[in-house]
Amino acid sequence: MGSLRLKNIHKSFGSVDVIKDVSLEVSDGEFIIFVGPSGCGKSTLLRIVAGLEDATSGTIEIDDKVVNAIPPSQRGIAMVFQSYALYPHLTVRDNMSLGLKQAKRPADEIRESVDMASNMLSLNEYLDRRPSELSGGQRQRVAIGRAIVRQPELFLFDEPLSNLDAALRVNTRLEIARLHRELNATMIYVTHDQTEAMTLADRIVVLHDGRVEQVGSPMELYNKPDNKFVAGFIGSPQMNFIDATEFGRKDAKTIGIRPEHITVSRESGDLKGNVSHIEHLGADTNLFLDCGSAGLISVRLQGEQDFEIGSSVYAIFDADRTYRFDENGQTIVNV
């Protein structure tokens, strides 16, 4: 129940190729997150799974059934949109029950289903209101409720939290994690937000320019990025990339090191630089070093640390945590 298999999916709008040969297997109950820069085709891929967009070529299988020609309402999916997309003229209850009414389910089953969802999301007191009488967070909960009511095998979320403020985003994120545990359904989730991706996902799919760059668990992507793009995309602040010639090394084109794997010293180290900017975050301190031809290096230090702007310090790299990339940006695996 709820597995998904994409085989060689292509999608072009006119002459523009948006999705290029994407294949992916999602097993039942998994939480999969699509990340990637804006315009890389995340929403398009999700809409292809939903059936709102036809793939130019390739097959989509849900539950081992090819669904290319099956309309969205019969694919056993539910989708939550970034813009909520609630029906403005219907009450919360009617918003949630429309799909089931359309499928001609018996009235008491519909009521039961809606009550279950509204209990889960604490929407009971709003059932008779219109969407315009709700706050943004409540609207998004209704949108999620509308998805739950359909009892789908596959949930699709397209940036569901990006219209919410920071505090609400954390709450709703926890709520979605809880839903995933309780419902045991397969979920595919698109986001821009690193924290959402790292905390929610069983596996993350990194998309770039319509291609899958890497698929793996959050820690796999963090510790073993396949290439420079994934290395730079996962983790914040971004991984530092330094030309290998700076170190006189010939075994790679680029050396990569994450800001959290660098320490500093005033006496000696791998690279000398001037402090150009400091960000105090309380628990961490971000240090930006101007290292001349090696470029700007960001360093993440634990706790509160103080440096004078313009003072010169040495960066010490954790040798086990440096990455090597060849001229195509592929990771060179250490043996």
Binding site: L52, P71, S73, Q82, A85, A103, S132, R146, N163
Partner: protein, 279 residues
């Protein structure tokens, strides 16, 4: 000068301009109304005077109600206007939805073709239309008028409505598709209510020209039983004598239904239920 004061003087200026405009626009209507209640002599003696004890007369209304079948004309006008508006809105909105929503070959060309009608007056085709109506036996029927007015109203309706339909959130329509609504339900239940203000605009734009038209009723449906109000009123305007009392009374009565229709549509103009749908 502080902000509050500036706002106040701005408001005052805006209201003064609007009130002046309203007075100018209402003045002819006012003149028609007061003169419809005066004797023929009084109309010519002092056109701007209010009806007094000696000049008051309802002779105009009596003539109108006696002469010809005024209520039938009234009914004809109303049927033609309401049915034409309904068809313009229905087909205009459907065409606009298709143009705005679906990607198909020739979408652009189709849109241009439909908009072309805005620039070409339908009266240029009068002779061909008459021949068509004669050939299809529709002369002297209200159907002929309704068809012509529908065709006349569609280009602008499609043009305006498709712009508005493009603004309706795609996510909303997609949510409907996932919930299993048919394209017709999506159109009627989700999209139409959201473009109601635009529909009302189109209705108001089309209503007055149809109601007032003399050209097509005269050419396509001049028979007694299909006369419209505007055409019916023409019997009082002669080549040598014009029965001004009757003309003014007929015009006064003709204002009423348009006024009612306008009130209905303008309420829609003001009401927007978009809020809360997205964001």
């Amino acid at each position: 000068m502080n902000m509050a004061r500036q706002n106040w003087s701005n408001t005052f200026a805006a209201h003064a301009a609007l009130i002046t405009y309203t007075l100018i626009a209402l003045f002819p209507v006012f003149v028609i109304l007061i003169n419809s209640f005066k004797t023929r002599k009084a109309i010519f003696r002092e056109p701007l005077a209010l009806p007094g004890a000696d000049s008051f007369s309802t002779i105009g209304y009596e003539t109108v109600l006696k002469q010809g079948d005024f209520f039938l004309y009234f009914q004809n006008s109303l049927i033609v206007t309401v049915v034409s508006l309904f068809l313009v809105l229905l087909f205009g909105a459907m065409a606009a939805f298709a143009l705005a929503e679906y990607r198909f070959k020739g979408n652009m060309l189709m849109g241009l073709y439909l908009a072309l009608g805005i620039m070409i007056p339908i009266r240029i085709g009068t002779v061909a239309i008459l021949q068509l109506m004669v050939a299809s036996g529709l002369v002297n029927t209200l159907t002929a008028l309704i068809l012509v007015y529908t065709a006349q109203g569609l280009p602008l309706a499609v043009f305006i409505l498709s712009e508005f339909m493009k603004q309706v959130s795609d996510d909303l329509k997609d949510a409907g598709r996932i919930d299993g609504l048919s394209e017709y339900r999506i159109f009627f239940v989700l999209v139409l209510p959201l473009v109601r203000p635009a529909m009302a605009t189109v209705a108001v734009f089309n209503m007055i020209p149809i109601w007032n038209d003399l050209w097509f009723p005269l050419i396509l449906a001049p028979a007694e039983e299909t006369k419209t109000l505007t055409l019916g009123s023409q019997v009082f305007i002669g080549q040598f004598v014009t029965d001004w009392n009757a003309v003014l009374s007929a015009l006064s009565m003709a204002i009423l239904p348009v006024l009612v229709l306008y009130v209905i549509f303008s309420r829609q103009l003001i009401r927007g239920i978009t809020s809360g749908a997205v964001k």
